[in-house]
């Protein structure tokens, strides 16, 4: 962010220019991207970004360089800046102006003109992961790592223009083609970042995010919420990331992801006692932080850079783009929106108190959905709420697999100024230097993600919010089931596949054929299984709508649904031998969507299939006629195999 200081002169930002949403803008004014006029973001101008030299090759080291813990500050990613789009967004793609091909935006007249418009460019950048390190070459949205946080509000539609300003030729391990998925938005398929719909450098694409509750057709407006749909379908902590088939892992390791937060009147992004507000800690970057987890290995190079290594797992914990940072907290409640961007590893997070015991984290939302009632997790009275159900069982832990979001509240009011608390993960990373502060007994510096330094609350700091309400929301009752289906996540012949009930071989990702066809407006129960001689954890993600977990299984035997997994979710973590019966609806939109394992190494290796929502019976029939293609092709090959044998 080299331009940050030069452009951000005090008094330059006039109130008149920020009338639409001053809260969001205040954060934005501190950011660097805000100073770029949209006309400067044309692809021609963007070619200038390529002058950032690509990494020189380095031999993968045994371990990353050492670093000093708790040096850098933990901060929330810079907010994206709402700005007019030039040219104006259109229902059909504006091919003449460089938009990539796509289906026309559905419900165009209903949700335009868009209230929020963001112009975001995927481009190279330099990011410093730790002050002991040199700069690191990344691919970030607006060159930032992690990408800028995009804000939305229920009832106010948004259009995000994603530009591909990545280098036209690259020596990095990434692939310069992108398709951006908003995880897990309720919107049209053309804006869903379908893995096969990637576009190359020089193109851009508008994603229309209506920011509505699911149930547009059934509920319409005036249902007590903000805007259209069923307000009980409210979600909050979304994230957006590249979904390019076969290259999701490398492109996300390079940095193509960010947070997307949607507010409504129950969760308005402030702490005032406005009508309907739950008054949760909610000041972005002050008392409400994304907590984006990732692990990487780094490689120092001759030109004083410290480059990322393309690997499925690393030896440094990174939180919001910094290695083992520190955060000063006041004696009050804070909200953290935990997101694991992987690329592959699962975290068991515990809060370690100064005496070495496990502190309480109150889970309020799972995968962006409020729980009906908050669930405290610790190693004492609330140990039973911990969701690490298979080894290693970490008492008091919240287990977070790739792509899961867990919104937690930590109350630092019970601690004294000067106390230090730690966020701990079960795996041990390479640090190379001791902690500058004495650690609580039993805590190894290699397990620490983040240090909290408790200080007294200054007068000007926002006072603590009221106690967390005992009821956060009420879930809708799901309609009767129209269809049952099963997906098995299997390893066959050394290959990750998704099998349907009658498949002999299983399907792999095929962008051209649907593996399952669903009539729009229906409700299905899906059995998701990872129980066939599996030694792998598959965080199974389903695009489009949130599901409810009806049953959980271990090795085919039904077990109670753990309280933390009983809420609405969009990632169902399937550990070895586990299964889940989930139920979800398919409303308001038709099109191509995906179910896949969100371990990015697995999805890049084909553990992903396409399913379609069809708008009417004729379309459904034609889809069903096609959905056997992968099976038929495979059967033909199977029979050939038998014939020869």
């Amino acid at each position: 962010m080299p331009k940050k200081k030069a452009k951000n002169r005090p008094g330059e930002v006039k109130e008149a220019t920020i009338s639409r949403r001053s809260v969001l803008k205040i954060g934005a004014a501190a950011g660097a991207a805000g100073v770029l006029a949209p006309s400067m973001l044309t692809s021609k101008e963007a070619l200038g970004f390529q002058t950032i030299a690509e990494p020189v090759r380095c031999v993968t080291p045994t371990n990353s360089p050492p670093h000093h813990p708790f040096v850098d500050d933990f901060t929330a990613p810079t907010p994206a800046v709402d700005q007019p789009l030039t040219p104006q967004p259109t229902e059909f793609p504006n091919l003449g102006a460089g938009e990539a091909d796509r289906a026309p935006h559905p419900r165009w007249t209903q949700f335009t003109p868009a209230f929020f418009t963001y112009d975001i460019s995927a481009q190279p950048g330099l990011h410093q992961f730790h002050s002991d390190f040199g700069q690191t070459y990344v691919w970030g949205f607006n060159g930032q790592y992690p990408g800028p946080t995009i804000f939305g509000k229920y009832g106010k539609s948004g259009i995000v223009r994603f530009r591909n300003n990545l280098p036209t030729t690259t020596t990095t391990f990434g692939r310069n083609e992108i398709t951006i998925h908003l995880h897990n938005g309720h919107h049209g398929s053309e804006s869903d970042g379908f893995a096969g719909d990637f576009f190359g450098t020089g193109f851009w694409k508008d994603n229309l995010y209506p920011n509505v509750y699911a149930g547009i057709d059934a509920f319409g407006g005036n249902t007590g919420g903000d805007g259209v749909g069923d307000p009980r379908e409210k979600m909050g902590s979304f994230w957006y990331h590249d979904h390019r088939a076969e290259f999701t892992l490398p492109n996300n390791v390079l940095g193509l992801n960010g947070m997307y937060i949607v507010y409504d009147s129950t969760d308005p992004g402030n702490e005032s006692s406005s009508a309907g507000s739950l008054q949760l800690p909610g000041l972005y970057g002050v008392t409400d932080f994304p907590l984006i987890l990732v692990d990487h290995t780094f490689c120092p190079t001759a030109n004083r850079r410290t480059e990322l290594v393309n690997a499925a797992g690393g030896d440094k914990f990174i939180v919001n783009g910094k290695i083992q940072p520190k955060l000063t907290v006041r004696r009050r409640k804070y909200r953290f929106r935990i997101l694991n961007t992987g690329p592959t590893q699962t975290y068991d997070l515990t809060l370690i108190k100064p005496d070495g015991s496990v502190g309480t984290m109150v889970v309020i939302a799972t995968d962006a959905n409020f729980l009906e009632h908050p669930i405290p997790v610790d190693a004492g009275a609330n140990a039973g709420n911990s969701n690490s159900t298979t080894a290693p069982i970490v008492p008091g832990a919240v287990r977070v697999s790739v792509a899961e979001r867990w919104d937690i509240i930590i109350d630092f009011g019970a601690f004294n100024a000067g106390d230090k608390l730690y966020l701990k993960e079960n795996r041990t990373m390479f640090v190379g230097n001791p902690s500058p502060d004495p650690l609580p007994p039993g805590l190894n510096i290699g397990n620490v993600l983040l240090q909290f330094n408790v200080v007294n609350t200054e007068l000007e700091f926002p006072p603590d919010t009221p106690p967390i309400p005992a009821t956060l929301c009420t879930y809708p009752t799901l309609p009767p089931t129209d269809n049952n289906w099963e997906w098995q996540f299997v390893l066959k012949h050394g290959q990750f596949r998704v099998k349907r009930p009658d498949d002999k071989v299983g399907c792999t990702f095929d962008p051209d054929h649907s593996a399952h066809c669903i009539l729009q407006g229906t409700c299905e129960e899906w059995l998701i299984n990872n129980n066939i001689a599996s030694a792998w954890t598959h965080p199974v993600h389903i695009h489009f709508e949130e599901f409810r977990t009806l049953k959980r299984f271990v090795n085919g035997v039904e077990v109670p649904v753990p309280p933390l997994l009983s809420g609405r979710k969009d990632v169902s973590r399937m550990e070895p031998g586990q299964g889940a019966l989930i139920k979800m609806q398919f409303r308001d939109y038709s099109g191509r969507y995906l179910i896949h394992c969100h371990n990015m190494a697995h999805e890049d290796n084909f553990m992903m299939v396409r399913w379609d929502i069809c708008p009417d019976q004729a379309s459904l029939d034609s889809c069903i006629a096609d959905q056997q293609v992968c099976e038929l092709e495979m059967k033909a090959k199977e029979s050939y195999r038998e014939e020869v044998a």
């Binding site: 090759r57 059909f92 793609p93 091919l95 990539a100 091909d101 796509r102 289906a103 026309p104 036209t168 030729t169 690259t170 020596t171 990095t172 692939r175 398929s189 053309e190 096969g196 576009f199 190359g200 450098t201 020089g202 193109f203 088939a245 076969e246 499925a312 012949h493 050394g494 290959q495 596949r497 071989v505 792999t508 095929d510 962008p511 051209d512 054929h513 030694a535 038709s590 099109g591 191509r592 290796n605 084909f606 929502i613 069809c614 708008p615 009417d616 379309s619 034609s622 889809c623 096609d626 293609v629 992968c630 092709e633 495979m634 090959k637 199977e638 050939y640 195999r641 020869v644 044998a645």
Partner: protein
Amino acid sequence: MDRRELLTKTFEPHPASPGPSRYTNAVLRNQNNEAVKFYDDLIRGKQCVVNFMYAECHGSCPAVTQTLKTIYRQLKDRMCKDLFFYSITTKPEDDTPAALKHYAQARNVDLAGWYFLTGEPDDIETIRFRLFGMDHPAFDSDLTLHSSYLRIINDGRNSWGMAQAFASNRNILRRIAWQDPPKSYAERVVEARARQILIEEEVKKYGYRRDVMS
């Protein structure tokens, strides 16, 4: 790419290609008993599809070979020009060049640009780990686990892809195309316009984009 261009094409590796340090320059022999260096002669600057098999295999191998044969037919214009198939034996002790020649002829796949390769067992094991290794002992030591993967390499753009031989042929073709040499912006605009027409026809017909065309 036009035909004339293909014939005069020189195979330049991408500047970031790891070259022999990843692929090795092991000397292998093809079904015509010609010695070839794995990187310099087979990979360098080229696009290729690599799989592992052995002649006496009656499991997946014949089906995979059959699949590649179909794919070969569809990509005939490019084969041996900028696209190559390499089927490497996992049983080099049994599969001499002559045995592989016999295998290829018996299945009508002794074709230009499709090499059946054998060599020193250690070299082949190394290549197999470098191309298909998942850094996971249980996978990597099991020979049978790699038999139905196709590794798609384009050294000219230093890109890797993969396909499962049991997926639909169209899916495999698409995955090979995903590793094709990069196209200019102008070419991609022309393609986008052509696709857009089909997308809109489909939306009219089915109510959503189905991608059943082409």
